[in-house]
Symmetry: C2
Subunit: 342 residues, 2 copies
């Protein structure tokens, strides 16, 4: 395998470990695009305390940037891969698809885009914008967090499922070829478990059982995945939402084992009291990824005739929470307060 | 009308104004039982800034206490009325009914109990414990808050609907008589709007449209009644829950006007950004009154065959929130935290 040029966008907990795995394998030259932690990483490199890689201090990928490369303006050759590890928040512009536009050649067929992001139908805007671009799905089960700018703590092994999204303009064989090449490149360092997956739809729906149910519930009621199991009513609430997702998946052609609900409720060790991503985002005042995590499975399920009343409530509450963040950030104007009776 | 002896339990925002109205009318001698603000009120009296009563400084009712009177031990005559204005939280002992036991004579028929409390079926434990005691329903629409210990700010007029709860052991006429006497006594000062209501069930279900839907939603998503209307998805969420309550009421024999949903969403002036009671309780770390406000209408509706999926989610979430308060107060033990990987 030749060395590939890989543009990784997003250098938080997921992106930094992805960049590290890619470079450690020796088949990739990584350009990593950072935002909030750019200055810190440029100065000191990453501090990575990882169950897969051990303790690294001052690690940097080949290239660091704080802007998306503009191929035309900077007269750069196209990348072989563009890996997106940022949050996917289509309701807050710019969209992920428009974000990478300057780095995608016109009428691209060369560059493969890899979406290591959660949720359903995330590939659709990319297929619309770049019809002949191979798009790969990355479903990550990494237990890593950025504890301070440029400081990554990875407490659970990286497991990454890679497959090709269905794309009417690209043959199944071509997509499969790209996916397998990426897996080889990502796994070459031997530090991680990156596996080719034939059934991207299955991987995504399976993860949604956690991400459309437990994740927003923890964020909304402000309890971690351990406490929600201990709380009166918690398991019932989560189980109810999960069952709706399993039923929607079934109608969408993805048969999940009956045991998946129990497995997903117990996925995080109870005593770790882990806060799932949406809960962390709410605490930090960040926007939440609710459209692809809740909205899309809900819309898909309803279209297929599945009753999803619990997801419906979670979706509306998540929407309200998103508005709350917008208000705190001064992005919506509301009428001035007046005292009662005045 | 003779002067009645009235024991008012709870001297917060609702209880203090009730005690004031009763004494101002001249037909009641009030004994007020306080807890958290007892020392403050005993020392300085109440400071009341009220749209009905004007500005009062140092006001005290005839008697102040910090315990429930024990008729037998203290050899006290029975009260004519016992008015409960405390929160009703049956899932956290002691129950309201057991709380007043020392102040109720054995085999009581003399003392009338008035429950100025929200929710459905709150009279049931009282009828069980004191079968021949007349029990009155008080539905209060007061806009008052205790801004500091003993400092009451009443920004909206007191409107109180009084009627007799259905009780198999007491004739309708007797109940009606007691209710009308109480209305006369409460209204005598002319400062307030206290009205006799024939249809207690109607009053309670009507208020539940607000209290089973808007109240918990605001508490759960942490937005006041103004902001929830402005937030994307807010009106839809609240409307959905309210419609379920209206439908349950209908099946329970209480026909509410179709316009009630809109009226209740708009009940508080938007620009006041009013926090409803459950939201205030969550902010203060208090227990929430969710069993009679959400649990009972939900159980009643389901028994009558009404689909109430939104209320179901609100109920489970409220239960989880209640557990969160218990945990914060050290009332539940949870397994010790351990680090991931250890």
């Amino acid at each position: 395998m030749e060395k590939n040029s890989v543009l990784v966008i997003g250098g938080g907990a997921v992106g930094a470990i992805a960049a590290l795995n890619l470079e450690v394998g020796g088949f990739a030259t990584v350009t990593l695009v950072l935002r909030s932690n750019y200055e810190a990483v440029k100065r000191d490199g990453y501090t990575v305390n990882s169950c897969d890689h051990g303790m690294l201090k001052g690690w940097k990928p080949t290239h660091l940037r704080n802007t998306i490369p503009d191929l035309a303006q900077e007269t750069l050759p196209p990348y072989d891969y563009i890996v997106l590890t940022t949050k996917n928040i289509p309701d807050i512009p710019p969209s992920s698809a428009s974000l990478i536009a300057p780095a995608i050649p016109d009428s691209n067929t060369h560059t493969t885009v890899v979406l290591i992001q959660n949720g359903l139908n995330i590939e659709k805007p990319f297929i619309d914008a770049y019809p002949n671009t191979p798009i790969l799905s990355g479903v990550s089960m990494i237990g890593s967090t950025e504890t301070a700018l440029g400081v990554i703590s990875q407490e659970d092994h990286d497991r990454l499922l890679i497959g090709a999204f269905e794309n009417p303009n690209i043959s199944t064989t071509a997509g499969e070829g790209k996916a397998k090449e990426f897996v080889k490149m990502y796994s070459a360092g031997g530090k991680t478990e990156c596996v080719y997956s034939e059934n991207v739809k299955h991987d995504r729906w399976r993860k949604l059982v956690y991400n459309a149910a437990l994740n927003p519930i923890c964020a909304i009621v402000d309890l971690d995945t351990g406490r929600i199991r201990l709380a009166d009513g918690g398991r019932e609430l989560v189980g109810q939402a999960m069952k709706e997702v399993v039923e929607a998946a079934r109608k969408a052609g993805v048969e999940l084992k009956e045991s998946v609900v129990g497995e997903m409720i117990e996925a995080d060790p109870l005593e770790v009291y882990l806060k799932p991503s949406m809960m962390v985002d709410v605490e930090k005042g960040n926007f939440i990824e609710f459209e692809n995590l809740i909205g899309e499975p809900l819309r898909e399920g309803k279209k297929l005739g599945v009753a999803m009343p619990t997801l419906e409530v979670l979706y509306l509450m998540a929407k309200v929470v998103q508005w709350r963040v917008k208000e705190k950030r001064g992005m919506v104007e509301i009428p001035a307060k007046r005292e009662m009776g005045s």
